[in-house]
């Protein structure tokens, strides 16, 4: 990473994930190969906050997105074997960067109803700390006592990827020894779901099929995904096993339209190129792209054209896990980074599920079946409403 001080490298040492296709890294990884039911609204059905140490009173002052974020963080620290309070690192040098697109959507909606039906005096005194998008990173900080930079990134569907990138920079620059990065989202309220539906972003068939010729929109999802990032030599010194290295990252904007990607893909192309430059790589080095691949007509067309423009004939293998997971908005980049970390662990690329026929207009190598993979440089992309683009570059650890 360009700002890396004294050659500091950043490695992923712990994963925590709650997604519609599975809870915990192993279950999630297995779920990426199971065909999803045709449901436009995908939930973490077995989520039990008490399993993650969230008490009844605590749960009432956390919207579901914050609960999912806290649960994923607890899981990631356990997976890393890192004792947050009594570990090797100074808590003032440990940071948290989590993304979310919306924040506490359920509290907004229920408290609005209470305001209109019961009057101003019945509005919960907890509504402000419950709806605020930074609630998840704040609750994680309080739970684990980490007191370095604790921040929330809000860039719609790129939030998770930007959070991973921004957190990695904190470690590379020497500001932090360890960071929790990722994102969480749960906003399938009546207002939000119908807003997405009425803008024709959602699939009418309930089938998420990234890059398919018949793709008709995304399937909305909730999820929490958090990774532990540490400075590589400190992680090795405490005996941690790294999944992969975060070697570079970039963030760009289209400056084009509030929801549509720039048709020439300029923002996406610039983002992938800047991320590779940050990692000191060229396009020919990259063997895999974990795509944004939402299953919307516009995103997939622009992304396919941008990947072709950036990589030309070297044709990295392209996977979108959204065929199974659906689109978890601000958590999407986080759970996709986790899928990519697991691809390094298992030397395998998960398939792009739900696809019957890749759009013949796309000249890219879409992974349709689980594929053996020799771990090499890979990208994870996110492209968001607002024209925000994010890319993170991974290397074998």
């Amino acid at each position: 990473m360009i700002e890396s001080r004294d050659g500091r490298r950043v490695v992923i040492t712990g994963l925590g994930v709650l997604a519609p296709c599975g809870t915990g890294a192993e279950d999630f990884w297995a779920g990426l190969r199971r065909p999803a039911e045709p449901v436009v609204d995908r939930r973490v059905v077995d989520f039990d906050p008490s399993r993650w140490g969230i008490s009844h009173v605590e749960a009432r002052r956390m919207d579901r997105f914050a609960q999912l974020g806290l649960a994923a963080a607890a899981q990631a620290l356990a997976d890393a074997g890192l004792d947050a309070q009594d570990g090797p690192y100074d808590a003032a040098r440990c940071g948290i960067v989590l993304g979310t697109g919306i924040g506490g959507a359920y509290a907004w909606e229920t408290q609005s109803k209470i305001l209109f039906e019961k009057g101003p005096s019945r509005v919960s005194p907890l509504v402000v700390p419950t709806v605020m998008p930074n609630a998840a990173s704040a609750m994680v900080s309080m739970r684990f006592g980490w007191r370095g930079p604790v921040e929330t990134v809000v860039t719609a569907c790129a939030s998770g990827t930007h959070a991973v990138g921004n957190g990695a920079r904190l470690v590379a620059s020497g500001r932090c020894d360890a960071v929790l990065v990722g994102g969480s989202e749960s906003c399938q309220t009546g207002v939000m779901s119908n807003g997405f539906r009425n803008m024709k972003a959602l699939s009418a068939t309930g089938i998420s099929r990234p890059f398919d010729v018949d793709r008709d929109g995304f399937c909305s999802a909730e999820a929490g995904g958090v990774m532990v990032l540490e400075e590589a030599s400190a992680a090795a010194a405490r005996g941690a096993i790294a999944y992969a290295e975060v070697a570079g990252t970039a963030s760009t904007a289209d400056a084009h339209h509030i929801t549509a990607p720039a048709p020439d893909g300029r923002g996406a192309i610039a983002c992938m190129r800047a991320a590779m430059a940050d990692a000191g790589l060229t396009a020919a080095d990259v063997t895999h792209v974990n795509a944004h691949g939402t299953s919307t007509p516009l995103n997939d067309a622009t992304e396919a054209a941008s990947v072709l423009e950036v990589f030309g004939r070297t044709q990295p293998a392209v996977t979108s896990i959204k065929g199974v997971t659906g689109h978890a908005l601000g958590a999407a980049g986080a759970i996709e980074a986790i899928a990519l970390a697991l691809s390094y662990r298992y030397s395998e690329l998960p398939p792009t599920m739900g696809v019957e026929r890749v759009d013949p207009a796309f000249d890219i190598d879409v992974v349709l079946e689980p594929r053996r993979w020799t771990p090499g440089p890979a990208l994870s992309n996110s492209f968001a409403f607002g024209g925000h683009n994010g890319t993170v570059v991974f290397l074998p650890a």
């Binding site: 009844h56 009173v57 002052r61 019961k118 005096s121 019945r122 919960s124 005194p125």
Partner: protein, 82 residues
């Protein structure tokens, strides 16, 4: 409210709201020190009882409350004077 309101019904409602066993809500139990309720959680508990019993507890009245017994008595007095 047609049903008879007693200390027991208030205790049961408060226990349900807090997600704890009613036996912990003794008259002398301290809301902050013993139950770990911060000021926001205290306001939330009193709002839940206000709604349940159709009463109004002012901020000044609530600021005098430190034990569960005091809250119980306050609610009973409000219900009685309704």
């Amino acid at each position: 409210m047609s049903q008879h309101v007693t200390a027991e019904t208030i205790r049961a409602d408060a226990a349900r709201h807090l997600g704890i066993g009613a036996e912990r809500l003794t008259p002398g139990v301290l809301l902050a020190e013993d139950l770990g309720l911060d000021s926001l959680a205290g306001i939330e508990l009193s709002m839940s009882l206000e709604e349940r019993y159709a009463i109004n507890i002012t901020d000044d009245e609530l600021s005098e409350v430190t034990t569960f017994g005091q809250l119980e008595q306050l609610v009973l007095a409000k219900v009685g004077s309704r």
